[in-house]
Symmetry: D2
Subunit: 360 residues, 4 copies
């Protein structure tokens, strides 16, 4: 079958005809890929900048793709919750089987680091015509969001981070006087798909949201910000006009992008670190540490998501599908053919929020 | 203006022209009522069976109605989040101002019992053409659920109970091996609007749901059960065919309805008590207590909801609006004129799930 | 070696010379028993009233004893945290190895019920001269509490229940205005060792504590109550003079003992069910259910404890060792020889709080 | 009465005869000071390096001292829990009365910053012969720890930080396979009283503890480390020989001290920031941010403590009083007369862990 592959230590992706040894076993389903999203990690692998990607054992190549959407083509014995024709999104990370978090299905908190991740680490991804997967890693897609369900995987990571935030912030009273979060300001650093999803999730939970970038918004960004009731803020204008922050979410990975904002952080506020980036330097002062201490500030790094977060993501998509009009559809800025994928994987499309590859 | 009122110690409700001393103050809005739902508490008050209802100070009558939906007609100074034309749902309970839970906006956990509740205890309700309320008690309704938003208040109580359940069950590992709740069975005792909402909420969270009643389903119930993927179970057939339960939600208030089911409760399971009823007797054995102990079973009574739960309810309505087709609309089994209300308040309509009164 | 054994379906215990197939393996230690406590479960087994006890596979008898204290006699390879001469308390329950709670070391929340329990279900207990156990089930005893460490096991169950209580009560604000629990009243139903431990634990956490029994206190009970700052209350005088309760802990298992007290329960209060008893009947009214609902009352059954709770119990013993003078020593009302054990196991000693058997 | 005072913008402390307008009101007690501890904040104020200290309204001077221990001399009307002769420790911070955390007695999480702190910000401290305080801010000291109870206040801050840590780490499974924390390594950066208290608290909870300083231990430090079962580690030898860390606690406030250790942090680990320091610079790389993200690392700043934490601190002192022999007494390295205080406040005593001033 056709697949998009990369090879270790070589730059670029190619569309190839591959043979993958997979047979439909008990509790498994054969999935025909419908769409796959492209994200920064894919491009990092293709450009050779990301060094942690590697093929599954016994393969000289890795099939890319961790943002998948497919349709059940055939089910194996013992599959109870899926039937032919169902739309599904596959979970990306598969646990180490050893640590306690993996044992309870929370491989997003794997402690050993010995997990595999489809399309990234030691497991073929979803940029191929078909794949076989276990029922337990396939998340059923409700009818009303099929057309945007390729967004489920990136959103699932946002859902995980947000759920964790809400739990840890129960360390004190963080809600407003009316029990909601409407008095809380959140800054989102970075306005790509992840930043946009954080903005939408936090708006849905009641937060006042500021989408920060060091430029003016594109037309699409302006449209989305307005629709979801968030403010797009150009940090080139300085940050003095921003209010104080109860929450900062960094999706950039660039310390220089979020460190200056930390002086805006209020007592009991939180900083979610989500973005990753190599090679950037920054200077910090012990005064920042003092602020973190004196104000009981909390910082969490958050990565990945478990199946329950994929379900949560689908619920958010259902809310937004109609609440925010065509925002979700507009986030998918291009749909490209498989043959165009290698080029698109090598170079971001101008004005892109999310580019997806059509498979069937 | 027209209002539906009751008088202490007298049976029946009447449509009357009333004068209520309310002026539009700072931080307040004048609301034109659009719809009000009728629930068992309203009928309990009208029939004289509920003894805890009382008028506001200075009034000889109480305006009924705690399930409201209105439109902002005018806003007072200092109102920031509402504008003319917005649809809103008002919060029912107003805190005592003294206990710690009321001080932090969680009057649903009022400790003193000195709260008031619109349409029930010491505060006029929403069955009237207009009312003035504080911005902090008005929950803005998203466009896509305006037509069903009269269901927000009953649903908010379900949201509160469910959120609390998910928190307390973090006392151990309650999720399934894949991190979801798909391996968990929930029994809902009672198939009225509250039971139906619990079923929908728990399905949305992944639970397998059994809607229990001691009769066959009505056509509407059959339709709704199928749509939401729950099983309607007639307990007259005995309970042997039911699987074991991880969760039981009682919406009946009748001990004889949920006690026999408790022998189905698994280790670490929970029982939510939500229904209330006067005068029913039941016998329990110490063996039940032993089971609760040996199996680490948790039981919570849950009442009322705070503003955040109203927001949560609106989010669920948005999910279900399209996921479950016309289920929400079908739950509103009749819409009656104000003049018909006294009769409908005195006697349940056959096949009723939720009856609402149209105001404007 | 000498051991105290019971046989299925036969009443009474005997001191016998037994052979147990145990060899000192990797990660294990050979323990010389120092003392074992006697509790109601032991007597229930000996009298034949408890039907769930059974011998380990391959044995026709069960060695009794789950409240153990021993001294390390020899360690196997790979044991890192114990050395010869250390005092240790063994954990009672050993997990099923299948459910998620057992996988993370929380076998006190075993979901399958397929655990074994030393001296009770399918595993020999500690009423014998020696036993071999895994390092992971042996809890090291600090020097300062060696003489009372035989009390660790019963106390560990109280610690587990209390920790769980404090977690689940974070569902709302339960602390007092000064952040402590000093405004909270706790009723303890039953004044045996478990009731006494609950009283001491809750006093240490700041609660006002009432020890309830349907008789006047014995001299020892009077002494202990005074020392720990709790009030002993004779419920034969009626319960009107008791204040309202924020917490009730039942250690009796008798519904008639705690049900009448429930009318004293305040909003947001909790009832811990800890006692078990067969064959008692009681009548409840739906009005009680209504109270539970309207007041957001929480009820939890709690059983068993994990290793962390044994450590917590030892910390409490260290606190009380000097804070409460000779209270802990006075709780050990008799120390008997092994040969006297069968008689003592058949009949409670008058005035007994805790009877222990001396082994070495 | 005699008091130790400082004046804004002038370096040094003096023993003076002062007049403070305090009368014994309802719910208050007059306290005779027994001992006061000296900490870095006191010396920072005296040296003029700390700029945030200021006198109470109406005073030109500030009485120093926030680590107090006193004896009740007289009680006002309505005092229920204290009597003449009781030993008490006063709480330091008094809430703003406005924010939700202060309203529920958790002024350690004050959101407005408008609190006062005895001996530091806007409220006279305890370095004086007598003071009047509200019952709700006075924590009763159990008999067995009277001689070391002057350590309660610094320890209370450690207790708050640790309780918060244990709560937020419930975001995933952090316990070991046997339910304890014995497989978890904690690094403590800094070996002063706070570092030592963190070490003792974490040991008591089961952690393996490494006390880090960039020098060899003093004799007292060597003694204490051994007694509590922690390892003193000289970071001048490089950090390669340290194991990986599940927890780092920084008590230094110096980024260069804890940043290099962060590469040792395991998945799901936590960093508690407790120390504060002005003027130190450090460089960070975005790779550190990536590590925090990929490993789900959590960082919390923690400051201050509420009354419940003072009670918790007294419980820890009771445990350690006998478990760790004379460690607590050895931590009090000098007791000085009031007249010597100004000198000691200006210059740390060699080998000092905690210096206290004797008052009565």
């Amino acid at each position: 079958m056709k697949a998009i592959t990369v090879r270790p230590n070589s730059i670029g992706a190619e569309v190839r005809d591959v043979v993958v040894k997979e047979t439909l076993g008990r509790g498994q389903a054969l999935i025909r890929t419908v769409m796959t999203g492209i994200c920064g990690t894919d491009r990092g692998i293709v450009s050779g900048k990301i060094s942690f990607a590697y093929p599954p054992e016994g393969y000289s190549f890795l099939i890319l793709g961790h943002e998948g959407l497919g349709r059940v083509e055939e089910i194996g014995d013992g599959v109870a919750t899926l039937k032919k024709g169902d739309y599904v999104v596959p979970v990306v990370r598969r646990g180490c089987g050893q640590c306690l978090n993996c044992k309870i299905g929370r491989q997003d908190f794997c402690e050993t680091g010995k997990f595999v991740e489809a399309g990234i680490r030691g497991k073929h991804g979803f940029m191929r015509e078909f794949f076989v997967d276990d029922e337990k890693y396939l998340v059923k897609v409700p009818e009303e969001v099929k057309d945007v369900a390729v967004l489920t995987e990136p959103l699932s990571n946002v859902v995980k981070a947000t759920e964790e935030l809400l739990f840890v912030q129960r360390r004190m009273i963080w809600n407003c006087e009316d029990s909601t979060f409407e008095c809380r300001n959140a800054f989102i650093v970075g306005t790509g798909p992840i930043g946009t999803f954080f903005a939408m999730t936090l708006r849905t939970l009641g937060f006042q949201v500021y989408l920060l970038n060091k430029r003016e918004p594109s037309e699409t960004e302006r449209y989305i910000s307005e629709k979801i009731g968030a403010e797009f803020y150009d940090t080139k204008l300085g940050i003095d006009k921003l209010p104080d922050a109860d929450l900062i979410v960094d999706t950039s990975g660039v310390p220089e992008a979020f460190l200056p904002l930390m002086k805006k952080m209020r007592h009991n506020s939180a900083l979610i670190l989500f973005g990753t980036m190599e090679g950037e330097k920054a200077e910090i002062m012990s005064d920042l540490v003092t602020e973190i201490v004196e104000k009981n500030i909390l910082i969490i790094g958050s990565v990945n998501a478990s199946k329950k977060d994929f379900q949560g993501a689908l619920n958010y998509l259902s809310i937004w599908r109609y609440r925010y009009g065509d925002v979700l559809n507009r986030m998918i800025t291009s749909k490209v053919e498989v043959e165009e994928a290698p080029e698109v994987l090598s170079k971001k499309i101008k004005g892109e929020i999310k580019t997806v590859i059509k498979w069937s």
